[in-house]
Symmetry: C2
Subunit: 156 residues, 2 copies
């Protein structure tokens, strides 16, 4: 679990660096699928990770949209703001938290119950999935995407 | 670990069903990025999962290319052939295997050492990443992609 979060963080950092070499209009361009753009995707990943980890702990989540974060610098600042709390949560993770329950009140009024282990895996898969989308859009920009390899990153 | 593999298998099955409703020429169409096509991606996922799990156990891996598997039915048959062995490996997984070493002789002649825990995480992330690519191409086909949600699938 911890290693998959760390994998996501190092890949995310690689994508920020990738973005540094791409004109901002390409990062902001509306694209087909996912959340419709490169920078929007990175914002969404940062938002969703923090929001789930806050929510299961009964804390308020992040309610703002992408509109106020339409630059690489702003997304990275948001990340820097959220990361310490996410990292503390991940570093403090142990098996005993796997089956803790979280009651999620959905926007449609339904109450759904998940385990913490289910939510953390959801957050991990969520980011990898969206990064797969970035890798397709990278080709639209004409630039090689960041490697998705877990091996060879010294994560173990 | 086991739950992430199971997540990948149920999502993969959803994608096979999704493919059933798409003309074969769309599944075979050459696309930009990844391994350049929808069915090719599913073949690649099946190939890579089996090959890594065989390789770390010192068994021969899969050497064939996509050319002989250019239909949904053929990819599903390959999957059915490989799955029992992959499932047996995953079901038999325990923590003691995490740090077992695998010496990988790369095509360029270098020897690289990975732990089994590193390889299994690589396989998990590999599939989720490629499925993210499918979700973009699904929009090119004009069809809603399969959900990438881990939550709500009864995996825990």
């Amino acid at each position: 679990m911890k290693k998959m979060f760390r994998y996501n963080w190092v890949v995310r950092e690689d994508w920020y660096r990738w973005c540094e070499e791409v004109p901002e209009e390409e990062l902001l361009r509306t694209r087909n699928g996912g959340v419709n753009g490169i920078l929007n995707t990175l914002f969404h990943i940062v938002d969703v990770e923090w929001s789930w980890i806050r929510s299961i702990q009964g804390k308020s989540d992040f309610q703002e949209g992408f509109d106020r974060y339409r630059s690489l610098d702003k997304v990275r600042k948001l990340e820097a703001e959220f990361r310490p709390e996410v990292e503390a949560f991940v570093n403090g993770w142990d098996e005993s938290l796997e089956n803790r329950l979280f009651n999620d009140l959905r926007p449609d009024g339904r109450m759904v119950t998940y385990t913490w282990g289910e939510v953390t895996r959801h957050v991990i898969a969520h980011e990898i999935h969206h990064v797969g989308q970035l890798s397709i859009w990278a080709r639209e920009v004409g630039k090689k995407p960041v490697s998705a390899n877990f091996i060879g990153r010294g994560l173990m």
